[in-house]
């Protein structure tokens, strides 16, 4: 079966839903559809806790938000994109307010803002500590108002149909029935989120498997800055569940095994009893996670069954503040660690959290493939450069989701119908799924085994600190794993809700994404932001003030080149915190 639409969103998280509404509003005549492998309100955006940045406070300015973002990125972002971002973020957050998002408020009824890491002013809007949950449900519920938005819930996209440099649709599996269908479209926007699951220990949901990155990469679009992976300093030791940075913004302290606020030893300022912006616990995430590794080296951490940990101390904040501003943190600690942060220390360790890199796009979300757009965590515009600031990515989903939506709507209004060649491509993909996965009789490799080995390989080679040697070894191991994936067995032969097939498809995607991360890490012979090479410990603006771009060659090998960074007003400088 083939169905057709004008604009197709792949992904129904924050970025996808924002884009869908933007299209419906820009041109109600367009036939818009959202394909999502989970019901939209289950998308990973739902887990975001801390908040969304947008300068609105009287003492704040767009320039300051831009400067914090640029310096936070270690000068690797594109400053034109950052300027557009900080300018549109407050408007987008207000729009969400008008749609009903339950933002936390000041006593006078105005929206309240809180501090966040790496930000010099209080500018992070929040809905207690369930910001992503409230944003996503507000967007989803608002999207229900637009009859023109059609949804394919629980459909898994396996391929982009590209001919002659233009995208014409996708192939997707309807999980409920197992049918493989073609959905043609004049424009496609990838909003498939991040790829935390390529690592063994992550805050990300099980669905964050980098599908969109792999889809674009295989279709010929380059991935940008894939070496930049953010570790969040405070994950719960066993589950990797995030304890939001808001806990530190409200005044939480990081303590080593001696009860000492160790961040003062890492050029992040001096401790003060109340939080100081851009200082100590409110430094940027890359620096805090790196400080943890140094503490491990100094033997100043506590051992746990899950490896070394430090502690986050919220006790001095008191129950009332914790219950009003951080209720979810308390709920999560009680449930998953059996400790009460009102009276006890929270054990934490750094955890993979966010992918700064992604599908290369311009400031309107356009990729080099005609009609193909990307927005949200899957994309790299780039406003995040070498290190994203907390609370910048939810507004990024809104700003660039809306921009990509409008741009795709314009493109779709003039694009023609898909060429016949597409049908053959789609038929090939159906055959591939049947032959290589569903009806394969000679497979002997297990999805979960290869997945675990891949995750360990990526962690060992592209962790918080990296070396050329380990990265090169990682590339070799990943290649072997890709070979072994060719012999994977899907034991489940049912058509109905075959989650083993999904797991295999996700693994195939992650293997490509993993290779891109490690290859890009090998290419960048310097240390910048979240990419720290112990064999090249300094930042090297001479050679690497540039984005990496990784392309796939027709023979399935990869090729790297680079793209200069756009600098408008803030020449590269030193990143200073705590001063």
């Amino acid at each position: 079966m083939t169905v057709s639409h004008d604009v197709l969103l792949v992904g129904g998280g924050g970025a996808g839903l924002r884009a869908a509404i933007a299209i419906a509003e820009a041109n109600p005549r367009l036939r818009v559809a959202v394909v999502s492998k989970v019901y939209p309100m289950r998308s990973h955006t739902v887990s975001a806790e801390g908040g969304a940045a947008g300068a609105i406070a009287a003492d704040d300015s767009l320039d300051e938000h831009a400067y914090d973002t640029v310096s936070g990125s270690d000068w690797l972002c594109d400053q034109d994109a950052v300027e557009a971002f900080v300018d549109e973020a407050p408007r987008e957050l207000l729009q969400l307010e008008h749609w009903g998002c339950p933002w936390s408020r000041e006593p006078d009824g105005h929206v309240a803002v809180r501090a966040f890491g790496g930000m010099k002013k209080m500018r992070t809007w929040f809905a207690a500590d369930k910001t992503g949950f409230h944003m996503l449900h507000t967007l989803f519920q608002t999207s229900l108002k637009y009859d023109e938005v059609v949804r394919y819930d629980e459909w898994f996209v396996t391929k982009l149909l590209v001919d002659d440099g233009r995208v014409h649709g996708v192939v997707a599996v309807d999980l409920m029935t197992g049918r493989v269908e073609t959905i043609t479209a004049k424009a496609v926007i990838l909003c498939t989120g991040g790829c935390g699951k390529v690592f063994p220990f992550t805050t990300n949901a099980s669905i964050s498997t980098g599908d969109g990155m792999a889809l674009a990469y295989r279709a010929g679009a380059p991935l940008k800055d894939m070496e930049f992976v953010q570790y969040h300093p405070t994950g719960l030791p066993f589950t990797g569940i995030l304890i939001t940075e808001a806990a530190r913004a409200e005044g939480g302290w990081m303590l080593n095994k001696d009860g000492y606020r160790y961040l003062q030893d890492y050029d992040l300022g001096t401790p003060s009893p109340t939080p100081v912006l851009r200082s100590m616990e409110l430094g940027p995430r890359d620096r805090l996670s790196q400080a943890f590794v140094h503490e491990v080296e100094k033997g100043r951490v506590t051992d746990s069954p899950w490896g070394p940990i430090v502690h986050l101390d919220l006790r001095h904040l008191g129950q009332q503040l914790i219950d009003t501003k951080l209720p979810f943190v308390r709920e999560l600690c009680l449930k998953y660690e059996n400790i009460d942060p009102v009276t006890e220390l929270i054990p934490v360790r750094p955890v993979v959290h966010y992918m700064m890199g992604g599908v290369h796009t311009d400031i309107d979300g356009a990729t080099p493939i005609g009609g193909l757009y990307a927005a949200g965590e899957v994309a790299c515009v780039s406003i995040n450069g070498a290190n994203r600031l907390g609370s910048n990515s939810l507004p990024e989903c809104l700003v660039f989701g809306a921009r990509a939506g409008r741009a795709a709507a314009e493109y779709a209004a003039t694009a023609g119908d898909p060429p016949a060649a597409i049908e053959a491509q789609a038929a090939d993909e159906v055959r591939r799924l049947e032959r290589d996965l569903l009806h394969k009789t000679d497979g002997h490799e297990q999805v979960s085994v290869i997945r675990e080995e891949m995750q360990q390989t990526v962690e060992d080679s592209a962790g918080i600190f990296r070396t050329g040697e380990a990265l090169a070894k990682g590339v070799d191991t990943l290649r072997e794993l890709q070979q072994r994936f060719g012999h994977v067995a899907v034991a489940d032969t049912s058509r109905t809700f075959n989650t083993e097939l999904v797991a295999a498809l996700e693994l195939e995607n992650m293997l490509d994404v993993a290779e891109c991360i490690v290859q890009s890490g090998l290419w960048r012979e310097e240390s910048r932001g979240a990419h720290q090479r112990t064999d090249f410990p300094a930042r090297d603006d001479e050679r690497y003030l540039a984005h990496s771009l990784i392309h796939r060659n027709p023979d399935e090998s990869s090729r790297l080149d680079s793209l200069p960074v756009t600098i408008t007003r803030w020449p590269p400088g030193e990143r200073t915190y705590g001063k």
């Binding site: 739902v46 008008h98 339950p102 936390s104 949901a205 998953y336 489940d492 989650t499």
Partner: protein, 246 residues
């Protein structure tokens, strides 16, 4: 603590036509492990063909609702150690058609959701430049009803929904109430019309099971009660006044 625990997991494949059967698996019993961790162990190490939904593993995406020893639960927030020594029976949520193994069809709820118009309804005035002011007290009015994660545990526990699938159900009514109580909204009238018609709120007999099982303390039973009151007042008014005067 024993070092393993037995799961009795409901298996069903529509292609095979027959009724669901229970399959047993022994999984490690670790103090941190949720029922979901147990299922993931089965999937990764014992039987890759088991199907179930999950995503966030932190009680917020609403995917992993199942019936655990007969009670609707989020499996990512229910711990094996609390169910020791077992066995632990894991079945699909009741009151929904079973698609496969532990996966149920919630399409009926997804179709009902838009009916209660869960979005801000305003008169036709243009949106203001700034935010609509809303004090913390006004926010508190509806906050509880905005916490629903659509996990469907309440539908699974609801005896009325079990008998009458036309009943719009606890979470949808709670959501209608969430918008009605929002100081920014003017749509209460439209929603009431929807809920009075159809099987809206009338089916509920106040068993309160929905509120008991809700993992997010939404109190859908409270929302239904409030709606019934509103609806009762409305029907009295409708009886006394001609439509235009309402």
């Amino acid at each position: 603590m024993a070092d393993s625990i037995r799961l009795q997991v409901s298996r069903y494949r529509p292609e095979e036509g027959s009724a669901p059967t229970l399959q047993e698996y022994d999984v490690p019993l670790r103090k941190e492990w949720s029922v979901l961790d147990g299922l993931n162990y089965v999937k990764d190490h014992l039987d890759s063909t088991l199907s179930y939904r999950w995503s966030c593993r932190m009680g917020i995406c609403g995917s992993c609702g199942m019936s655990v020893n007969g009670t609707p639960e989020l499996t990512c927030g229910t711990f094996l150690a609390d169910l020791a020594p077992g066995p632990v029976r894991v079945e699909p949520m009741r009151n929904f058609p079973v698609v496969r193994d532990l996966v149920v069809d919630i399409g009926d709820f997804m179709d009902k959701l838009p009916r209660v118009k869960p979005w801000i309804i305003r008169d036709d005035e243009p949106e203001p430049d700034g935010e609509y002011l809303q004090t913390p007290e006004e926010l508190d009015e509806y906050k509880q009803f905005s916490m629903c994660i659509n996990c469907m545990l309440c539908y699974s526990a609801c005896p009325v929904y079990g008998l009458d699938p036309d009943f719009i159900g606890p979470a949808a009514i709670a959501l209608a109430e969430r918008y009605d109580l929002d100081s920014r909204d003017r749509g209460a009238r439209e929603r009431l019309d929807v809920l009075i018609e159809h099987e809206g709120v009338w089916g509920c007999t106040f068993v309160g099971e929905c509120t008991t099982v809700c993992p997010k303390h939404v109190d859908p039973a409270g929302a239904i009660q409030r709606y019934k009151l509103k609806a009762a007042k409305e029907s009295v008014k409708a009886f006394l006044l001609p439509r235009g005067a309402r």
